[in-house]
């Protein structure tokens, strides 16, 4: 099939950037979206133009590196699918496809479609862990975890840190990402001791990074390629309320 692409080109962080139109022909429906961009790039290089920079690595939907806004939708039209796993059979001959980077103040554009998502790492560094220095761990079976809690924790832990939630959110909020980690750790017995300091630390880091506030719209969960459920945000809110009320710090409570 033949496609028209309109791609955001921006030489560097200081450049203003603009949409540029390209034509790509003979696209196979078995190609992945990124393979289609590879074909374009091969051609651009031979024509003496700069190829389009875009982030990708695993190309199997797990590393969270790919990050394309395709026709105004984070990771494109197929639900539960990252851009690298999106295949061209989802499009038809003659389509025009707009490709843009994630847009958020906390994710500044590095070049073309590449953004800097360091803000997510900062949120994790602010509490998204369980303190368990190597060597200090008790025998794994000393604390059983109810299967339903383990499964729910896993569901939240599936987040790949791609940032599609932020890209899709009308408020530019990173609350789904933050809530996914808070939920995972607060569902596990091992996560209890730091439960309340964690949520405060992470939400503060989130706000500080320049993400917008959450108004429970739900676009994030609709765009999330890993199906992180919206109710994780409710868990975060509940922990946050408890943490900010005095009780959470009181011994024995």
């Amino acid at each position: 099939m033949n496609l028209t692409l309109r791609i955001w080109r921006q030489r560097g962080p200081e450049d203003k950037g603009r949409m540029v139109t390209y034509q790509v022909d003979d696209v196979s429906p078995d190609m992945s979206f990124l393979e289609m961009l590879d074909v374009l790039n091969e051609r651009l290089i031979l024509q003496g133009e700069e190829p389009v920079a875009f982030d990708h690595d695993c190309r199997e939907g797990i590393c969270g590196m790919c990050s394309l806004m395709i026709n105004g939708e984070a990771h494109g039209p197929q639900r539960g699918t990252t851009a690298c796993q999106l295949h061209m059979r989802q499009f038809s001959d003659g389509d025009t496809i707009d490709i843009e980077p994630w847009r958020a103040r906390a994710f500044p554009v590095v070049k073309d479609l590449v953004v800097n998502r360091n803000a997510f790492d900062k949120i994790i560094a602010a509490g998204g862990y369980i303190t368990a220095p190597t060597g200090s761990a008790p025998e794994a079976h000393s604390v059983p975890v109810a299967k339903n809690n383990a499964d729910a924790a896993f569901e939240s832990a599936a987040c790949i840190g791609c940032g599609a939630c932020v890209a899709a959110c009308p408020n530019g909020s990173g609350m789904l990402f933050t809530a996914a980690k808070v939920t995972q750790l607060s569902l596990l017995p091992q996560g209890q001791p730091e439960r309340y300091t964690r949520v405060i630390g992470m939400v503060d880091a989130h706000d500080e990074a320049g993400f917008g506030g959450c108004t429970n719209i739900g676009e994030c969960a609709a765009a999330c390629p890993k199906g992180i459920p919206l109710n994780t945000i409710g868990r975060l809110n509940r922990d946050y309320l408890k943490a900010t009320s005095k009780r959470a710090g009181t011994p024995g409570s």
């Binding site: 590879d38 070049k111 079976h141 896993f154």
Partner: protein
């Protein structure tokens, strides 16, 4: 032979002797320690943030060292360990099915086709149990049973259920555990994280590894980073084949640069070809996707009995199907080790019984399992893998059997290290897939995660201090030291060279062609003639590369073509060494199958008299020099591997 020369044999001088169960304990006790107050003054560079690098950086920082960490992705969380699906082995024996440290040790040595070191493997099996404890404490959400205890499943090459897993995302969950521990240390200021930085050279001063030269991939700036020791955890080099299950960015550059500076490269030809991957769909193919080996627990592998039978799978009656793994290997059936399953698939395809476009595929069929356990149960176990398969191929595996074909997956070879995981350059330690240490000629499923974490959490943090204890007597270096300046200049020169060729072919086109040569002649089956041909072709292509490659843009700022070009340039050199290694090893073992050396029924034929050694190659710039490290087997006596 004309292609290499033979040097002095080498020995692993750090490996203790005595009863095998006591060796690690003894080594730990004998190792020198560093006073806690002095640790902060010591800097360790860790290249790579995968399971190996992430866990090592976090642990060393917890111990009090100052750590500088590097990865080429935008976040340490994205190292390719994230993609591991199936699981991680540990000798917990929670199932009471006869597992033990000794059995895991035994299975791993045997699975590696008797080409690994017993001491190392035993240590690996010992610490495997600590890994599970550590990960659970970090909040890794392993699969659990209704009673709240950890679930396990079976994996290829073992008859016990010792594989712990987190649905089909075990690597992701383990890596996030290590990543979170690392982020905690970053937050505390103990680790200086440098994401989107690529190591392009090793700095060796006075015979010791003292730093690296890195390029900031965002600004293009080249800097030298100095330290008291350097740890490489830069992963495997499967991408030398262009198509593999590795991430696009996986590369050999860090290891190769160290090799050029004097680190021996061991067993480069040992490559693992994974039997269950999604077949190639066209020329545009940029990578191959693994379908976890765990699928072989419930899926049955078959091809039609007749050649060229191109009926739809459901129209082929039971008695016209050949469940060839079950037929040839009745006791392990579909769960034979990877090398065996892959070669069997190749054989049936070579016979003309392969299915799908080009006849390069076999069926992995879940119909029986779905009937026996119900669709729900299958969905719970493999749901995400089935979805992934459908997304890529457009076929629904609940209805139509999957089509799979072997693909390059893992590299057992890597930089040579001693028992302490130190390379032949003092102060350069190598961990994870980047070293060669524990898997011999074939790695068992779910053992790479185990090895990466064993190295990073438990082994290196015990052996590195022994080296650092003497750091006080090292020569002082700063950026103006002539060796440091030279290392940096070499990097700049190479980048300028790549940018200035301005030829008429893209980097990818070269990489793809190199991959085809390697797959054809240094893949699942190797012959002397093929390997010789490959070496000639690689040399010719490399020459073309340096004359005709076009790298657009400049060295400033993000330039993904430049990154690729540097990596491919190193792959060319590695590819040649792999072929030389494969050529010199005139036997078949594990993932290395020489067509000239097979048993009458087509199994790999080892030659223990001539080849029970590790081939450690020294770089000379011209013919490589082979150093042999003899392997001794005191506990597991080499036998012909049999899974029948």
């Amino acid at each position: 032979m004309d292609l290499y020369t033979e040097g002095d044999p080498i020995a692993d001088t750090k490996a203790p002797d005595g009863p095998i169960e006591t060796r690690w304990e003894r080594r730990r006790f004998e190792a020198k320690l560093v006073n806690p107050a002095n640790r902060r003054k010591l800097t360790v560079i860790v290249v790579g943030t995968g399971l190996a690098g992430g866990s090592a950086a976090a642990t060393l920082a917890e111990q009090g060292y100052h750590v500088k960490s590097y990865c080429y992705q935008d976040s340490p969380r994205r190292a390719h360990s994230i993609a591991a699906q199936g699981g991680i082995n540990a000798a917990k024996n929670y199932r009471n099915d006869g597992d033990s440290v000794h059995r895991l040790f035994y299975d791993t040595v045997k699975g590696g086709d008797f080409r690994s070191r017993e001491s190392n493997v035993h240590r690996l099996a010992e610490v495997s149990v600590n890994i599970i404890d550590q990960c659970v404490a970090q909040g890794v959400p392993f699969a659990r049973e209704y009673g709240g205890l950890l679930d396990t499943r079976s994996f290829g090459g073992a008859q016990v259920q010792r594989t712990f897993y987190a649905r089909g995302q075990t690597g992701q969950q383990l890596l996030l555990g290590a990543y979170q521990a690392l982020e905690r240390q970053i937050g505390l200021g103990n680790v200086e994280m440098n994401a989107r930085h690529e190591m392009l050279e090793l700095v060796v001063v006075d015979g010791r590894a003292r730093g690296i030269v890195v390029r900031d991939l965002v600004t293009g700036e080249i800097t030298t980073e100095l330290a008291d020791a350097v740890v490489l955890a830069s992963g495997g080099y499967g991408n030398v084949f262009y198509l593999s299950t590795n991430a696009k960015g996986c590369n050999v550059t860090a290891s190769w640069r160290a090799h050029r500076k004097g680190a021996h490269f061991a067993n480069p030809c040992y490559t693992q070809i994974h039997p269950t991957c999604i077949p190639v769909s066209g020329d545009h193919q940029s990578k191959l996707t693994l379908m976890s080996e765990s699928l072989r627990n419930d899926g049955r592998v078959w091809v039609p009995k007749a050649k060229g039978d191109n009926r739809a799978p459901k129209d082929i009656p039971e008695d016209e199907r050949d469940y060839y793994l079950e037929r040839i290997y009745p006791s392990f059936g579909n769960l034979v080790p990877r090398d065996i399953a892959s070669r069997a698939a190749k054989n049936v395809c070579d016979e003309g019984r392969g299915v799908g476009p080009g006849g390069l595929g076999v069926y992995l069929d879940f119909a029986d399992a779905i009937q026996r356990l119900g669709r729900k149960a299958i969905e719970a176990k493999y749901g995400n893998l089935f979805e992934m398969y459908e997304r890529i191929t457009g076929d629904d595996p609940y209805e139509v059997p999957m089509r799979i074909y072997p693909a390059v997956h893992y590299t057992m070879g890597g930089l040579w290290v001693d028992y302490d995981l130190q390379s032949s350059i003092p102060g350069l330690f190598v961990i994870g897939e980047a070293n060669f240490s524990d898997h011999g000629a074939n790695r068992l499923g779910a053992s790479a995660l185990m090895q990466g974490l064993a190295d990073g959490y438990f082994v290196l943090p015990n052996t590195l201090p022994n080296y650092l204890a003497n750091a006080g007597s090292f020569e002082k270096v700063d950026a103006s030291h002539p060796d440091v300046v030279a290392a940096r200049a070499a990097v700049e020169e190479r980048i300028q060279k790549l940018l200035s060729i301005n030829g008429d072919r893209t980097v990818d086109s070269f990489h793809r062609e190199l991959g085809q040569i390697m797959w054809e002649h240094c893949g699942m089956e190797r012959t002397e003639a093929g390997l010789r041909k490959a070496i000639d072709e690689i040399r010719a292509l490399r020459e073309q590369f340096w004359q005709r490659v076009r790298v657009p843009g400049d060295g400033e700022g993000l330039n993904q073509s430049l990154e690729k070009a540097g990596r491919v340039a190193d792959f060319f050199e590695l590819a040649e060494l792999m072929c030389i290694d494969a050529l010199h090893r005139e036997e078949s073992c594990g993932g290395h199958f020489r067509a000239e050396h097979q048993t009458p029924d087509g199994e790999a034929q080892r030659d223990d008299d001539r080849f029970a050694y590790v081939a450690a190659w020294e770089y000379t710039g011209d013919q490589p020099v082979l150093h042999k490290e003899d392997l001794q087997f005191e506990y597991v006596h080499p036998t012909q591997r049999s899974y029948k």
